[in-house]
């Protein structure tokens, strides 16, 4: 084989870097002494993930495609990948203390996160159904393992098994949908699919529509949108807390990125076919997220429902992007979604950092009632957690409000009034359970204090996320411009 056929590797440089680094990290873990190899590999993984960020920034010039059109990078991919890398790196930092106290300090943990991140980046950059599936599976398999990382705990094992069985079902649905689409359209390439649907106007065969519906179901599972959310509360509750933190951010954001790319890319012309489904999923997620969380007593479970609700809000943006008409308005929909996801990531990382600090006598506690009187025993932590809660409830002037503002603004522009009205009303119901946490911390009298003492890393994470959430309103420009150019990249033609 002549060398000339080797595809250009530059667009995939960050992925290649991560793949090689993951192998090296494994070897580092295996060949170094057992005492502190976890710590070393953890730090090295964080370093790798952070170094990868400038790598993805290197290839921003326009849109570049490689591997026979199966792999694409553009500003959209850069934006999502940056969010994913930042959240994965932060989660590894946050997990350090947890792994030690739970006695599951193993160097495979950070390496698996790096591998999952690699899978996420591949699916974000997928420009072909096969590439999509490869990325998705690499991600999912790594995540199945770390969900049950606490092997001795029945709950953790159950979470991993549940996630695996249901995840495999979703992959099956996705694969089935993909095969339908391939069967009726004759190609797996996103670009070709987009061209076919563009030319065929309204003569879409039913088989394609069925395929899209199956793909939607698979993707909805990955972002845990209703009605494919059933796994979320159990897995969130059972998985080790840092893993839950990871599940709440990185795979969600990556899957959302994939969701957007698939819907806008190959099926962008078929908005009329899939928009109603997205609207239904969005409404159902917002309502379930709002109502089902009310009675939760476990904070990780509560966060699961909260994230279901947040995915509902983010999907409003996708529903907007599916509306017929002006490309600028549709791009606004994607932009609002990207802004929402960016803020969602910061708030969730901050909140999970707080949850990881919920310890009593050295043991982790997860009940909402365990936060009682936190404002007296640890005023700073209570203040910052209440800021996150107000932000999630969407109360101005915090960042969460601006995320909702952009999403609803996009919905109003394409006259999705009913969707917007249901959205804001669901947010009022949601506010109830967010402020309940504040109530527990501030209004109730303490019974047993939580342990004090916060490590420097956790302090940094809390301060940074808190500052971003409070001061975002004063200087929103960086995220807004990033999201704007990322969204514009999808509507370039």
């Amino acid at each position: 084989m002549p060398l000339a056929t080797l595809p250009s590797l530059t667009p995939a440089l960050p992925e290649i870097f991560l793949a090689i680094a993951a192998m090296l990290l494994l070897m580092l873990g295996v060949f170094s002494s057992e005492e502190n190899n976890t710590r070393m590999v953890s730090y090295a993984s964080v370093l790798v993930l952070i170094v990868a960020i400038p790598f993805i920034g290197l290839v921003t010039e326009g849109r570049s495609v490689t591997f026979g059109g199966a792999f694409v990078t553009d500003t959209f991919a850069v934006y999502i990948k940056a969010l994913v890398l930042v959240s994965a790196a932060t989660v590894i930092i946050m997990s350090k203390d947890y792994l030690k106290t739970q006695g599951i300090e193993r160097f495979e943990f950070p390496v698996l996160i790096v591998l999952a991140t690699l899978g996420m980046m591949m699916m974000i950059s997928a420009n072909d159904l096969i590439a999509l599936y490869l990325g998705l599976e690499l991600q999912s398999l790594s995540l199945y393992v770390i969900a049950s990382f606490q092997r001795d705990s029945a709950r953790s094992a159950e979470a991993g098994l549940k996630y695996f069985v249901l995840g495999a079902l979703a992959s099956g649905l996705l694969l089935y949908g993909m095969s339908m689409i391939y069967g009726f359209a004759g190609t797996t390439s996103f670009d070709t699919l987009a061209r076919i649907f563009h030319d065929s106007h309204n003569h879409i065969s039913v088989g394609v529509v069925v395929g899209i519906v199956f793909m939607l179901a698979g993707l909805a599972f990955k972002v845990s949108a209703v009605p494919f959310h059933m796994w979320t509360p159990d897995v969130y509750e059972g998985a080790p807390t840092p893993v839950t933190a990871l599940f709440a951010v990185a795979p969600k954001i990556a899957a959302m990125g994939l969701f957007i790319r698939v819907m806008i890319g190959p099926f962008g012309e078929l908005g009329a076919q899939w928009q109603q489904i997205i609207i239904f999923i969005s409404v159902a997620s917002m309502l379930l997220g709002a109502f089902a969380a009310i009675n939760q007593t476990n904070i990780k479970r509560l966060m699961a429902y909260s994230s279901i609700g947040h995915m509902g809000y983010a999907l409003i943006g996708l529903a907007v992007a599916g509306a017929a008409g002006d490309a600028a308005l549709r791009a606004d929909g994607v932009e609002s979604m990207l802004i929402y996801l960016g803020i969602y990531m910061v708030v969730n990382i901050g909140t999970f950092a707080c949850i990881l600090l919920m310890k009593r006598d050295g043991r982790m506690v997860e009940g909402i009632d365990d936060l009682v009187g936190l404002s007296k025993s640890n005023p700073a932590l209570a203040m910052i957690l209440s800021i996150f809660m107000f932000s999630m409830a969407g109360i101005p002037p915090l960042a969460g409000f601006l995320g909702k503002l952009y999403v609803f603004q996009a919905a109003i522009q394409v006259e999705l009034y009913a969707l917007a009205i249901i959205g804001v009303l669901a947010s009022v119901v949601g506010a109830y359970y967010y402020i309940r946490i504040i109530k527990v911390m501030y209004f109730d009298d303490p019974v047993d204090e939580l342990d004090r003492g916060i490590s420097l890393e956790m302090k940094t994470i809390l301060v940074v996320t808190g500052v971003v959430i409070i001061f975002f309103v004063f200087y929103p420009a960086p995220l807004l411009t990033g999201a704007e150019s990322a969204a514009a990249a999808l509507f370039h033609e």
Binding site: I395, I412, Y417, A420, V424, K439
Partner: protein, 505 residues
């Protein structure tokens, strides 16, 4: 001088105070508390004096916005940081700053738990209130309007009475549910008009078919904040459970958000819908005036009584606002300012005896005049101002409102007048039971009269009540140009619409 961003300074100066308070660290709780109190007092005093400068330099002759500041904020959505005041909003800014000073003074010794957080909450609240009244951008307005919920929720929930959880939740969820619909209306307006600037939107003609929907969405929010019957039920709970200073701010400033909103948005931006919905407003307001006055008459809890009287007084404000003539609107503004001062004072008056006896029940008191002559005098003056005795601020507001209403609808004016009689009834009844009679109760025999700090808190309020009552022109002149302009715009929009419908026929 002219280039100084005075409004921003007033708005954000309290946040500087918050920053200083956050820096206070000491192992001795007393020292922390003392420092926090002094920082808060000084910052709020400075803010108040700077805000007086706005009034002194205010140009009475123009209806335009003054002290305008504008800078880019979120260009993608056409949202700018845009501040300014006109004759309608200027006094509310000063009302907010002065009441904050008094609130901090009033909580000087009564709040001993978490003083630092308490002072931070009040300073943040001041920032949000001032910002709300001076915002000239829809989204900026909404951010301040809604952000108030955070400190208010904390103030009631942390330092409140026995049923504080319930009250804080009710306040939060009621007002949130009201205002989210307004958010959608704001977004629709921005999309429709292509701008979020309030000065531009004031002259924008929204389609007649859209106006009722926008009006209703704003109404949902303002009616809850106001509060209008039947969505007023959160108010008595919130007032009763809130600490004294919380009640003062709630009655003094937060209730004005609704009235201000009607004047700033509903009336000028949706004139056609406002005209159509005026009968609804009249009906709800008259029910509020008469029904809540009767309810007030039956109260056993002093704070609850004053809370219900607030609902009745706010009923007057909405009647005056939707009378949509100069007298009615000026009366509504004066009534709001007067109520801001008088109800704040009444809550402080309740606070004085509550601090001493720890009971709000009217039953627990009698014959206070024998032990507390100064208190009885001050109580009487504010009671009279609340009733609307000539020479006090309450009279000017109610009189102007009735004059304005009489011109547009005699029946409404007649019903509203009965509210004044009922108001006199419940206030005098309250006063008689608390102040007069025999001093028989054991625990009242040693009760002390007002101390110097308390007198100092009531003095400025007394001054305002009398100045506003005896020489109202001082206030009316400043708001006249803006109100005229509003009325003119409202009627010309109605006339234009009428013209179109006549032509169409």
């Amino acid at each position: 001088m002219d280039n100084m961003p005075w409004l921003s300074i007033i708005t954000f100066a309290p946040l500087v105070g918050v920053f200083f308070i956050l820096l206070i660290r000491d192992d001795d709780k007393e020292i922390v508390a003392r420092n926090a109190r002094w920082v808060a007092l000084w910052i709020s005093l400075i803010t108040f004096f700077v805000s007086l400068g706005i009034w002194i330099n205010f140009d009475n002759s123009t209806a335009n916005f003054q002290f305008v500041e504008k800078s880019v904020w979120m260009p993608g959505l056409n949202i700018a940081y845009h501040m300014g005041v006109d004759g309608i909003s200027m006094f509310f800014v000063i009302l907010s700053t002065i009441l904050t000073v008094l609130c901090i003074g009033a909580s000087w010794i009564t709040i001993t738990d978490r003083v630092k957080e308490y002072m931070i909450s009040f300073l943040v609240l001041e920032t949000l209130m001032v910002g709300m009244f001076s915002a000239l951008d829809l989204v900026l307005f909404y951010i301040f309007f809604e952000g108030v919920l955070i400190p208010m929720f904390i103030i009631i929930g942390v330092w409140g009475g026995a049923r504080r959880n319930y009250a804080a939740y009710k306040l939060f969820l009621y007002t949130l549910a009201g205002s989210v619909l307004m958010l959608l209306a704001i977004l629709t307006m921005m999309f429709q008009a292509g701008t979020a600037e309030i000065p531009k939107l004031l002259t924008h003609n929204f389609p007649a078919t859209l106006q009722p929907w926008l009006w209703l969405a704003f109404f949902a929010s303002f009616a809850v904040k106001m509060p209008m019957w039947p969505v007023h039920t959160w108010l008595p709970d919130a007032h009763v459970e809130a600490p004294t200073a919380g009640s003062v701010i709630l009655a003094g400033v937060l209730l004005k958000f609704g009235g201000y909103g009607f004047l700033r948005f509903s009336l000028p931006m949706f004139p056609l819908a406002s005209a159509d919905f005026t009968p609804l407003i009249y009906t709800l307001s008259i029910i509020a005036v008469i029904y809540t006055s009767l309810v007030a008459l039956a109260q056993e809890d002093m704070k609850k009584l004053i809370a219900y009287s607030s609902v009745a007084h706010m009923g007057f404000v909405t009647i005056g606002t939707f009378a949509a003539n100069t007298q009615g609107i000026e009366g509504a503004i004066i009534q709001m300012l007067s109520h801001g001062v008088v109800s704040a004072a009444l809550f402080l008056i309740v606070g004085v005896v509550y601090d001493r006896i720890h009971s709000r029940d009217i039953e627990a008191y009698s014959g206070l005049v024998h032990r507390m002559p100064k208190y009885a005098l001050i109580f009487m003056i504010f009671m009279m101002a609340s009733v609307g005795l000539p020479g006090t601020s309450g009279f000017v507001g109610e009189f102007l409102i009735l004059v304005g209403t009489f011109k547009t609808n005699t029946w409404v004016a007649a019903f509203a007048t009965t509210g004044i009689i009922l108001g006199a009834a419940y206030m005098l009844y309250l006063y008689r039971r608390v102040i007069f009679g025999e001093l028989t109760k054991e625990n009242l025999k040693s009760i002390l009269d007002l101390n110097r700090r308390e007198v100092a808190i009531f003095a400025p309020l007394l001054l305002v009540v009398f100045v506003m009552g005896i020489y109202p022109s001082l206030f009316l002149d400043a708001m006249h140009a803006s109100v005229e302009n509003l009325v003119e715009r409202y009627h010309s929009a109605l006339a234009a619409a009428q013209h179109i419908s006549v032509v169409a026929k």
